[in-house]
């Protein structure tokens, strides 16, 4: 059977480093890329006798994610120990949350070509990251080295329910999660630095079948691409196995990037017993209502929600809304510009679209060329609104406006003043334009004759000549009207 004859069920686990200056249970820095083992202390290297102390900022950021994703948050929570041996885990247990995760039953709302969908969250919990093993270059090395700089870094784990049914949804989920965590300043989500990592689980069942196949977990996914490739591979592998009436084992597989395939790591029988129990070195945490109120009050709109509001409120195309809400500051800029233009431009939808075109086009281009952030952009939203107002009221043409923007950036002046001072305002005075047109017609006897003999195509040429004569300042509509009148006579 082809893959399309199977229902696909996918769940994702995301691990995100929280944007804290210090570690989860000690005051060591979390700066990426520091010299090996330079950011360590007795606590995070698991010396005898040390005790963990909760990083309040990390706890608040984690709760922020739980509030943002509409989770239920327990009134009291604890940390638990997850026991397993690995050389990058100095205590040989990880302080995590198993019995009372800080959020359960929330959701992340995504959008694909099929529309919007809520991906359910099983839980969100807080834990500490492990260190890193370094395997020395060159053959013959019979040892490994351990870098514990990352050990103890606050790690947020977000576990979805198995709610995704194709790779579009997986991609949209990853993108939405990344954008949201970034926008809420919970994590910087740099996958290349390992501050956002994913693990996936996937199972198949023939369409309409009641029972789901065994679940396979896939690890070692270091990029969005790797997640999608690994899942595509795994879906094909499982479909082929089911076609051949083979059993799918419940197991954990590793994605081999080089060979583009998944490989067995361990079966369910070999699965570890983590012997979770409540962390006795940390008392229970009573979640105060005031914390949650403070978080709710400071929580801005999620990027996706804002995108959808832009579509509704400003009647923007989905594409525009998506680009504008990519970054919070861009979206803020757009909204401020529209608000400033409202008094002058009567058609709100048209105003929004024109502002959107300007922001997505010239503004982003200038920001990019000049390597500045929008918050430092000399053309304030009010100035941009002024420029748009000049266009919409027919005082300048689009062409002039394009020339005006760089001058506004250089001088910091507003558009109207520059246009006036430099004589860039559009000429709509009919008498003046008529005089100019007479000159154009006199200077171009051949095209005029051609036009009059029926070759109407030269009209564009004549308009161009007229516009050149006025250095683009003439109102093109007025030019066209007068020119037609004169040629037809």
């Amino acid at each position: 059977m082809p893959v399309t004859d199977y229902d696909i069920v996918i769940g994702l686990e995301a691990h995100a480093h929280l944007l804290t200056r210090t570690k989860m249970f000690c005051s060591c820095r979390t700066t990426f890329g520091a010299e090996a083992n330079s950011q360590t202390c007795p606590v995070c290297i698991g010396m005898p006798g040390v005790l963990p102390v909760i990083n309040r900022k990390a706890l608040m950021l984690a709760l922020r994610s739980a509030v943002a994703f509409k989770c239920e948050i327990p009134a009291t929570m604890r940390f638990d120990r997850k026991n397993y041996y690995y050389p990058d885990l100095p205590k040989n247990y990880q302080i995590s949350q198993n019995y009372t995760p800080l959020g359960v039953k929330g959701f992340v709302e995504i959008e694909t070509s099929k529309g919007r969908k809520k991906i359910g969250l099983d839980n969100i919990h807080l834990e500490e990251d492990a260190g890193k093993l370094l395997h020395p270059e060159g053959s013959g090395a019979v040892y490994s080295q351990v870098d514990l700089n990352r050990a103890g870094t606050p790690l947020l784990e977000i576990v979805t329910r198995p709610d995704m049914s194709d790779l579009d949804e997986v991609e949209a989920y990853m993108e939405t999660l990344r954008r949201t965590l970034e926008a809420l300043e919970i994590s910087d989500c740099k996958m290349q630095e390992g501050s956002l990592r994913f693990e996936a689980s996937v199972s198949l069942k023939p369409l309409g079948a009641a029972e789901l196949g065994n679940r396979v977990e896939v690890k070692n996914l270091n990029s969005v691409r790797a997640v999608l490739n690994a899942l595509a591979y795994e879906i094909d592998r499982q479909a082929a196995a089911l076609d051949a009436r083979e059993r799918i084992d419940r197991e954990t597989r590793l994605w081999n990037e080089e060979l583009s395939r998944t490989e067995r790591m361990r079966s369910k029988e070999e699965a570890q017993d983590y012997r979770y129990f409540p962390e006795p070195d940390l008392g229970p945490i009573v979640v105060l209502d005031e914390w949650l109120q403070e978080i709710s009050a400071s929580l801005q709109e999620l990027p996706n929600e804002r995108k959808w509001r832009f579509e509704d409120e400003y009647a923007l195309p989905s594409y525009d809304a998506g680009v504008l809400t990519q970054k919070r500051a861009i979206a803020d800029y757009f909204e401020a510009a529209v608000a400033a233009g409202r008094a002058e431009v009567s058609d709100p939808a048209r105003l929004a679209k024109v502002v959107s075109n300007w922001v997505m086009g010239q503004v982003l281009k200038e920001l990019n060329d000049r390597k500045v952030e929008i918050t430092d952009f000399p053309v304030t939203p009010e100035r941009l609104a002024g420029l748009v107002t000049l266009i919409e009221s027919g005082k300048i043409s689009n062409t002039i406006a394009q020339q005006l923007l760089p001058i506004m950036i250089e001088t910091g002046e507003d558009a109207g003043r520059i246009a006036e001072q430099r004589g860039m305002l559009q000429v709509s005075d009919t008498a003046e334009i008529e005089k100019l047109m007479d000159e154009v017609l006199a200077a171009n006897p051949k095209p005029v004759a051609d036009y009059r003999s029926g070759k109407k195509a030269v009209f564009g040429f004549l308009v161009g000549q007229a516009m050149r004569q006025t250095k683009g300042k003439a109102n093109p509509q007025v030019v066209a009207e007068i020119l037609t009148k004169k040629l037809e006579n």
């Binding site: 010396m47 006798g49 963990p52 026991n83 041996y85 100095p90 006795p280 070195d281």
Partner: protein, 485 residues
Amino acid sequence: MDLLCATAVDVSRMVASGEISAREVARFFLDRIQTIDPKIHAFLHVDPDWTLSLADAVDAKRAAGKPLGPLAGVPVALKDILCTKGIPTTCGSKILENFRPPYASTCVEKLLAADAVFVGKANMDEFAMGSSTENSAFGPTANPWDTSRIPGGSSGGSAASIAARMALVAIGSDTGGSIRQPAALCGVVGMKPTYGRVSRYGLVAFASSLDQIGPFAANVRDTARTLSVISGRDERDSTSIDAGVDDYEAALTDVKGLRIGVPKEYFAEGLDSEVESRVREALDVLKGLGAEIVEVTLPHTSYAVATYYIVCTAEASSNLARYDGVHYGYRKTGTPDIIELYSKTREAGFGPEVKRRIMLGTFVLSSGFYDAYYTKGLKVRRLIKQDFDDAFKSVDVIAGPTTPTAAFRMGEKVEDPLSMYLCDIFTISTNLAGIPGISVPCGFTSGGLPVGLQFMGKVLDEKTVLKVAAAYEQATNFPTMPENL
């Protein structure tokens, strides 16, 4: 003044007044250790340079005209479970042989701030697991009252160091009786404060929810003073209690009208008749001092030992996972892979009792057994705490024997872990409930072995516990040092 008869309070006063220098005191006790300790083996590590440098610092402070702390120049023995920066801290285990911590425990810092002078690191059962100090990887400690007998444990070295006057104050840790039981068997005072009273930062963990640091001394007043020094909230220990530290010495007043509960469950089968007699005599003394003796019941007492060995082994199995030969401590070399490195290191590095408890703890936390053992253990623990809460509704303090018997002979129980576990039958409940307890000397058996009397108090009510202990001590005044050492 003969320093052997001096109290810690005397010494600190003399050092502060300049009557004697801290160096002279330190020299005296170092000499005493050199003479006596070969017979006792209370210490695992004595470093005269370290001790004298600490003493010199106290003398220099005085010379500079600065006020001295409440333990100025007092010779203190530290159980080798407290991290001392740059000084070996072995926990009585081969796996930490030669381990020098890069940091100091909060308790050690507080003692230094009080101008105490450390005379050495005291012997103990490996990772505080045991009741006789025979589980030390570096050989047992002898009981100063009869060197063929054990001093109790796990803080046996600390208790013996006081009985033999090789120190005037000692610090121990008590997870199920490890301070009070050896204090009783060595005829000295030993106290386990309320859980959370003393910071555990830098105390090598055995069972985190039960471990508590406490003082030993030859008398209640020295014990009280030391407790005042080491108590208090510590930002580095989230389980330390944010409550004001009392001046425990000031609380040592009389006991008229005090209601003392006597749990009938503590006078049951297994209690040695001579121990029972001494304790009953002690209760009569207290009655004579104006206290009211009331029978109380702690109905879940018989479940305490089983509950304790579920909770403490579970936590220990996780706490001791870090000793794997990878990052520090002993490592078995020449192993082919990491799994072998772990297992061979731990096989060679840990003694039999530690291995037994790690295996027990691993078992009770295993999937499929967790609820039957660990969850149920926690439920019973709550019931035991409830027993005390109920009893304390009608009495101010609870009294009883500290141990079922006096000191037993070395080797007597080594092959019988269960009978060794029962040594702590009267001390374990206070750890499960988190309440304070103290053992004070209450006489001797006909064979001349010390017997201990235990007082237990309400959470954070060390004051009353110390008060009743001091009143009893004053009325009896039993010798706390054997004559013929």
